[in-house]
Symmetry: none
Subunit: 249 residues, 2 copies
DNA sequence: CGTTATTTGTGCGTATGTATT
DNA sequence: AAATACATACGCACAAATAAC
């Protein structure tokens, strides 16, 4: 490692992170060129190779594309909010460029179905409803049901209890540090649904419009479900991408 | 470029391709270590940096994982440490309990968008439209666009050329045995869409009903796209499930 | 039309750090 | 403690694509 590195974070990761954030915050409009390798090397006081290493990651993530002789460009996203959610980290990183706005504050309620999906003994869950926005655009409506212990762990987060409050957090990001055991995995189920009145109002679409519904159950390392999130996305602004591989038995 | 390079193919790509093939052919069983960087550098007569470049690609693809001090290992395919989820077999297994009915027989046509998504030089693709049923219930409408070579490989399947024909095959199942290199992976994009007239008729739902739209591009082991399938599912009869894991090995 | 400058791509050498055995 | 193996970082040289002249 370089002698200049005091923080423990690799130089190329710093460069990649800052560029990623800049792209997500639309600091590089579609079609405009990013700084060249040489420019970034000077700016960050690293070698050109280190900048290349950062770009290599961003290309793999699909954040940018590069053309020899021309430059590096932010990958066009035809209006869609395009993020790869292949891992839990990706979901936690959501807070990098989105905000949540509380529509219905966190409160205790009886919900037999959610309680059973969280494998609770009682029928009591804690529920919060919010909307997630990206630069002012609402693209996701989320209802989160929490295990009582998880809800208790969020006691010190006043925003969640207040209607209209805005935060740049993610629920699992908050839970991950507050629970005794961290979040280890999530089970995700994806289907389509028509927008009901509440959803249509929150997302600014028509009643009956098709929405992408994504249910996620988050489990801690001891496989205890702690959170059930029911998300509804506007399809024009969001699509879910995965790679499938062969199982060669 | 290195003076040894006569072929025009980058040295690191050759190394990556051969390793990828070896892994897909199970030449490195789960848990056994791949050759070290130094060994591969000697074997291929390239520098250690070039081997690293190849491994970097394989890591990004999820083919291998690396542990400092221990070595490089083929990523297990049974889901345990898998970063990417779902499997091609699941899709091939469709034919076990479903049937397809040809709505529009396989024929040559010009489709610029599909051709570009298949990364073709020309604008000509071969297209077939069918409906998939499960015990008489239609649950999926599929439009398949094929690489010309893939379409040629299906010449001996008369059902595809005949409207109304019924078969219990899957297109990739057919392609897998007929193409020189097998199907290795698929890229999948999921979103929601409203049913158009054609879709509604085929699936027996109302125009405007929400459908789950799943686009899949199938690639052979040499990463050549051969098939683009656009599926529309009835959400009541289909939902897509995946498990997400934490990225730390 | 070729020439030149710019920019990314490939390849290799070296040094040092960190994790594992 | 030593050897092994991967990770990070920097340096250089040249190739290939692009754009401007």
């Amino acid at each position: 490692m370089n002698s200049k590195d005091q923080s423990g974070e690799a130089a190329y990761k710093v460069v990649a992170r800052e560029l990623r954030q800049g792209i997500l915050q639309r600091r590089y409009a579609d079609g405009t060129r990013l700084p060249t390798e040489a420019e970034l090397a000077t700016e960050y006081q690293v070698s050109r190779q280190t900048v290349r290493r950062a770009f290599h990651d961003l290309v793999a993530e699909g954040m940018v594309y590069r053309v020899p002789g021309r430059g590096t460009f932010a990958a066009p996203r035809d209006g869609q909010y395009l993020r790869q959610f292949g891992s839990i980290e990706d979901l936690m990183g959501l807070s990098l460029d989105t905000q949540l706005e509380v529509l219905r504050p966190l409160r205790r309620q009886v919900d037999i179905e959610s309680a059973s999906r969280l494998r609770l003994d009682s029928d009591v869950v804690h529920t919060v409803v919010f909307r997630r926005t990206h630069f002012g655009d609402s693209f996701c409506h989320t209802t989160v049901h929490l295990h009582p212990a998880a809800a208790a762990a969020l006691d010190d987060v006043p925003e969640l209890g207040q209607e209209g409050a805005v935060s740049d957090a993610t629920i699992i990001g908050l839970l991950d540090t507050r629970l005794p055991s961290p979040i280890a995995e999530a089970e995700q189920s994806i289907t389509a649904a028509a927008a009901e009145r509440t959803l249509a109002d929150a997302l600014g679409c028509q009643v009956g419009d098709p929405l992408l519904r994504v249910d996620r159950t988050y489990l801690t390392t001891d496989l205890q479900p702690v959170e059930l999130a029911i998300n509804h996305f506007l399809p024009e602004q969001y699509s879910y991408r995965v790679k499938l591989r062969r199982n060669t038995h």
